[in-house]
């Protein structure tokens, strides 16, 4: 589904701020793969996602999504088939537009027919939105005409997830999308994520700072360090792994301890 070959990206080349964020990164995801990603702060996890969505063009390398070379495809054209959720729940929705309008936007964006520009949602679409919202079990289906700005962070993130998957994306990128939520809400959004991804067999990459999640969710675990993937585990080997094994592997592969403030923080909480 996704093939990334020898991806390199340097920010601010030739200046004192020069930063090589991706260093010859290689990654292949089969259709339906659900891989979690862990890594130190600044390892390049978010940058990897931005390279896929086209927030910038990479310096060198090839990106193929579903058989199509998208290396130099414009961002707004790629995002038709890519769902991207950020840590910040405010990033994924338009606060002054109503829930219904936000959903309409997500729903209409994937239409491709020639007069799609002037397409509008109809009563049947609204009914479908309602049903989708009811699945969240947050009471949002009765607030469809309220501006999204009135919702809590967790509600907004759940809505964003719904919007990102409303038209099944070819790949779903989740960048610590539950990290800013309180534990109960995070749990809820995570369960929703699991259900949607499993039900529609969406190919998915998820950055997390929770080592347990990294091993439990999905079918693959990737570890990133200094702009490359240093460790990729799946199948039986993964099933037998404990968090300590994972940390040990990281130390071995990267030649240093895993250093991520949010991982340390979440371990301290346990």
């Amino acid at each position: 589904m996704l093939i990334m070959k020898n991806i390199t990206k340097t920010f601010h080349p030739g200046t004192v701020n020069e930063k090589c964020a991706l260093k010859g990164l290689n990654l292949e995801l089969a259709a339906g793969d659900f891989a979690t990603i862990v890594g130190s702060n600044g390892a390049g996890k978010s940058t990897l996602f931005n390279a896929i969505t086209g927030a910038f063009y990479i310096d060198r390398g090839l990106i193929v999504l579903d058989g199509e070379d998208i290396t130099y495809k414009k961002e707004y054209l790629r995002s038709k088939t890519i769902g991207h959720l950020f840590q910040d729940p405010l990033k994924g929705t338009a606060p002054h537009m109503t829930i219904e309008e936000n959903m309409a936007l997500a729903y209409l964006r994937a239409k491709t027919s020639s007069h799609a520009f002037f397409s509008r949602i109809n009563a049947a679409d609204k009914k479908k939105f309602r049903e989708n919202l009811a699945l969240l079990d947050m009471g949002l289906e009765d607030r469809m005409r309220q501006p999204v700005g009135l919702l809590s962070g967790g509600q907004r993130q759940a809505l964003t997830l719904l919007m990102a998957t409303m038209v099944t994306p070819k790949i779903l990128l989740l960048d610590e999308h539950t990290a800013a939520l309180d534990p109960a809400t995070a749990e809820k959004v995570l369960k929703l994520t699991k259900d949607i991804v499993a039900e529609r067999k969406i190919t998915c990459l998820m950055v997390t700072h929770n080592m347990h999640q990294a091993l439990e969710l999905g079918n693959r675990t990737l570890m990133m360090d200094a702009g490359t993937i240093v460790f990729d585990v799946r199948g039986e080997q993964r099933a037998d792994m404990t968090v300590d094994d994972l940390l040990e592997q990281f130390a071995k592969q990267a030649g240093k301890q895993l250093d991520n403030d949010r991982i340390l923080f979440s371990k301290a909480q346990k």
């Binding site: 969505t53 927030a55 414009k74 961002e75 707004y76 054209l77 790629r78 995002s79 038709k80 991207h84 950020f86 405010l90 990033k91 994924g92 929705t93 338009a94 606060p95 002054h96 537009m97 309008e101 936000n102 309409a104 936007l105 997500a106 209409l108 964006r109 994937a110 239409k111 799609a116 520009f117 002037f118 397409s119 509008r120 949602i121 005409r145 501006p147």
Partner: protein, 324 residues
């Protein structure tokens, strides 16, 4: 001596209110939705006026209105091109286009600084024949504003309309969705400037003349109308908000008409406009401040009680020692 408000004042305030409402609607799109301060509004208004006057003079009053709109679209396109393709700050882009338009407008009027249409047919002369009475002008402008308002609110709920609104509301989201922000800014500004120019065109036919300085200060006036309308209606469906903007424009005209009735000299009108704008914009803020001041007063009174209670408690604890 009649009352301050006579029927003819109401009538002309409504007529002008509806005509200028189109500019306020333009700012509704560019300023409220897209979050862009389009300072080419003044020049674009005159452009619509000039183009419409020239084509009306040539004997095509209806075509003239469409020509004015087309000119507005071109002006909006140039403004957005400067922003999206040449990386010029939106306010600067507006100022640049506004400056350039002065020459274009003079040229459109055949290098004269005014045109009069007293001998030409306009859509209003046509309406006089077919509708008659004294209200025909108002009927025409209400029909036009209603049609434009309705189309606009329908448009703003289409995929492009929603995308335009999201572009102004959350650029982060838009970047992650498949929305071409440059295109949305372009379409939004073209639509907005078409309405501005249409307004100018209707005014040219309404007052049967066009002057190169007609548009001066238009952006301020439209902004006042917009803000009056938004503070009355608040948030709601697009249709409701569009209606609010039209209402705001009519209200603004009433205020000006009353100011004139109260013998404010015509030369002072711009100052009056500026005052109205400042008040209209400040009003929502002042309202919040007033609420806060009232709350604080009530809280302070209560807190005084708490504080004195604490003081007495303390002094009893101290055995009534130090008193200060």
């Amino acid at each position: 001596m009649g009352s301050i408000i006579t029927l003819s004042i109401v009538q002309s305030a409504l007529e002008l209110g509806c005509i200028y409402a189109l500019v306020a609607l333009a700012l509704f799109v560019s300023f409220s939705l897209l979050n862009i301060a389009d300072l080419s509004t003044d020049g674009c208004f005159t452009l619509g006026c000039a183009v419409c006057a020239a084509v009306t003079l040539a004997g095509h009053p209806i075509l003239a209105l469409f020509a004015a709109m087309a000119a507005g679209v071109c002006s909006g396109f140039v403004t957005s091109f400067l922003q999206t393709k040449l990386g010029i700050e939106s306010i600067l882009a507006g100022i640049i286009v506004n400056t350039g338009l002065y020459t274009i407008n003079i040229a459109a009027m055949g290098f004269a600084s005014n045109i009069n249409l007293f001998a030409s047919d306009t859509m209003f002369t046509w309406a006089k024949e077919h509708i008659g009475g004294t209200w025909y002008k108002l009927i025409v402008v209400i029909l036009i504003v209603a049609a434009v308002g309705l189309l606009l609110s329908l448009f703003l709920n289409t995929r492009i309309g929603l995308s335009i609104r999201a572009t102004g509301d959350n650029p982060d989201m838009v970047r992650a969705s498949s929305i071409n922000t440059g295109l949305m800014v372009t379409i939004g500004l073209c639509v907005a400037n078409a309405m501005t120019a249409l307004s100018g065109g209707i005014l040219a036919q309404y007052q049967k003349s066009c002057d190169i300085n007609l548009g001066t200060g238009m952006v301020t006036i439209a902004l006042a109308s917009l803000i009056i309308g938004e503070s009355i209606i608040g948030r709601g469906s697009m249709l409701k908000r569009v209606a609010g903007v039209v209402l705001g424009s009519c209200l603004y005209r009433f205020i000006v008409a009353i100011a004139l009735r109260l013998n404010v000299p015509a030369e002072c009108l711009k100052l009056v406009s500026a005052l109205i704008v400042a008040i209209a914009i400040a009003l929502p803020y002042l309202k919040r401040q007033a609420v806060f001041v009232r709350q604080r007063k009530a809280a302070r009174a209560q807190n005084q009680v708490y504080l004195s209670e604490m003081n007495t408690e303390q002094s009893t604890e101290d055995g009534g020692g130090r008193s200060c």
